[in-house]
């Protein structure tokens, strides 16, 4: 193994690494043991705190709530893709009248905290939209704006010769966009789109703050009940559920990216602008 920082180790370096490994294992095991012991003696993870997982009604309740969360995320992502496509097209327009409003909208929603947006929509229009509507629209506006930048970067990343060739055989701008650029761009954008799905799914958990009945809300019912009173155990279960789903999605994105690289194409990275979604925060 040779990385930027280290050469392939020789016998002495290997010994040093082995010593480091032993010390590292002891240190990490020590810290984890300390945390586990603290959690155990404070009765946060003792068996009775996990007993809710053996009650069928609670487990199915959590499962159904998870579906509710996933449903909101799915609706939001579909709407965000549409929103993103429209505003990316608007931002690529030749007419300044169309382009500038799109720039303002996209940059505004990328810079504003999602929770501020959710609170505002819920307080202002909650009576008509409900918690679901406020959550989904806020997610659509934020993720749609990020996706608009991803789409735009993807379109701009298609080699210039492609659109020049299309124009030279007499295609119109609309035709060039829909038949030449978009199909080629979509492939390179797939990893970024999947990563954005992870962000959207994580952010769906914010629905909890306005009382949307997702899995986090369901979890709260369990840990506030005096029978269980186990916020740490429930929190860990919620975290594991999200980690499993999001980690699988991230792996899918990595796989798509590596497949692209094998074919010689490269995945889109959004650069510039206040918030680079490459970090997928």
């Amino acid at each position: 193994m040779s990385s930027v920082l280290f050469d392939t180790p020789g016998p002495r370096a290997r010994t040093r690494h082995r010593i480091g490994t032993v010390i590292g294992v002891i240190a990490i095991a020590g810290v984890l043991a300390l945390v586990g012991w603290k959690l155990w003696i404070e009765e946060a993870i003792t068996p009775d705190k996990w007993s809710f997982l053996t009650v069928p009604a609670i487990v199915t309740g959590l499962g159904e709530a998870l579906l509710v969360t996933l449903w909101a995320a799915a609706v939001a992502i579909v709407l965000a893709v549409v929103f993103g496509a429209v505003f990316a097209a608007g931002r690529l327009s030749n007419r300044a009248v169309v382009r500038w409003p799109c720039v303002v909208v996209v940059e505004f929603f990328r810079a504003v905290p999602l929770l501020l947006l959710i609170f505002f929509l819920f307080i202002a229009y909650g009576s008509t939209l409900g918690a679901f509507g406020a959550l989904v629209i806020a997610l659509m506006l934020y993720n749609g704006s990020v996706l608009a930048e991803i789409f735009r970067a993807g379109i701009l990343a298609v080699p210039k010769g492609q659109s020049e060739a299309a124009y030279s055989i007499g295609m119109r701008k609309r035709q060039v966009m829909t038949t030449i650029l978009a199909p080629q761009a979509v492939r390179s954008m797939l990893p970024a789109i999947v990563s954005q799905c992870v962000v959207a799914l994580k952010d769906t958990a914010l629905g909890f703050t306005i009382g949307y009945s997702g899995i986090v809300h369901e979890g709260e019912f369990i840990f506030i009940s005096p029978v269980y009173n186990n916020p740490i155990a429930v929190g860990i279960v919620l975290a594991v559920v999200f980690i499993v789903i999001n980690y699988s999605l991230s792996r899918l994105a990595t796989y798509l990216e590596s497949r692209l690289r094998r074919r010689g194409a490269s995945a889109v990275r959004v650069v510039g602008g206040p918030d680079q979604s490459g970090a997928a925060v």
Binding site: V4, I28, E42, L115, L116, T209, G235, Q276
Partner: protein, 216 residues
């Protein structure tokens, strides 16, 4: 209206003072922890690498709201009694550290292996290789992703509003309660505050990037 503007200004100053406190402390702690994690992830020692990788995968894939619940509801059951603000700072730091770690690691990986090999072949020690050759080049590549992590952190501080901290976003609901007809004005004013912070961060990043840029 003559009542509204001073009140809006007062509450925004109050709110953003708390937001900036959350941002400052969390950015500081997250950077320290994130740098330590990045060092672990690029080290040649397997268990440290595994620990860094697990930390990143766990905290990057958990919704911040769930981490907030674990801290605000969970830590008191362990006998940790501190103010809501510090719960928020702990949560934001642990979450953001994972992203800082990834930004730093990606920066180090952008440096061409040939650079370090060349410096070693002319007899530079590990310290020299790291300090003179690798880190200065990595620093340049690291600025844009780091800036976007800090921008995301700025926006994430808003979540503290749902957990007992009345920072800028938390002021929105009481502004709307007291001045219902002016809800758009309240929303856009608070949004403008966040946009200003985002602009400062990306401005500083742009200046630093230009300062460190070299013609290659």
């Amino acid at each position: 209206m003559e009542e509204y503007l001073p009140e809006l200004a007062r509450r925004m100053v109050d709110g953003f003072a708390v937001t900036l406190q959350l941002l400052g402390w969390s950015a500081l702690f997250a950077s320290v922890v994130g740098a330590a994690l990045a060092a672990m992830r690029v080290s040649p020692v397997p268990p440290l690498r595994a620990f860094g990788t697990s930390y990143v995968n766990i905290f990057r894939n958990t919704p911040l709201v769930v981490l907030f619940i674990l801290a605000v509801e969970g830590l008191p059951t362990l006998g940790v009694i501190i103010s809501f603000k510090w719960f928020a700072i702990i949560t934001l730091s642990t979450y953001t550290a994972a992203f800082i770690c990834e930004a730093l690691r990606a920066g180090i990986n952008t440096v061409d292996v040939g650079q370090a090999e060349a410096s070693r072949s002319i007899g530079m020690t590990f310290r020299q290789t790291l300090g003179i050759v690798v880190l200065p080049q990595a620093a340049r590549a690291v600025i844009p992703p780091l800036a976007s992590v800090y921008i995301a952190l700025t926006k994430n501080t808003a979540i503290a509003a749902a957990f007992g901290v009345t920072e800028a976003t938390g002021k929105l609901s009481n502004l709307i309660r007291d001045f219902a007809p002016l809800l758009y004005a309240s929303f856009f004013s608070i949004a403008a505050g966040y946009i200003a912070i985002v602009f400062v961060i990306s401005g500083v990043a742009a200046v630093l990037e230009r300062r460190l840029a070299v013609a290659r």
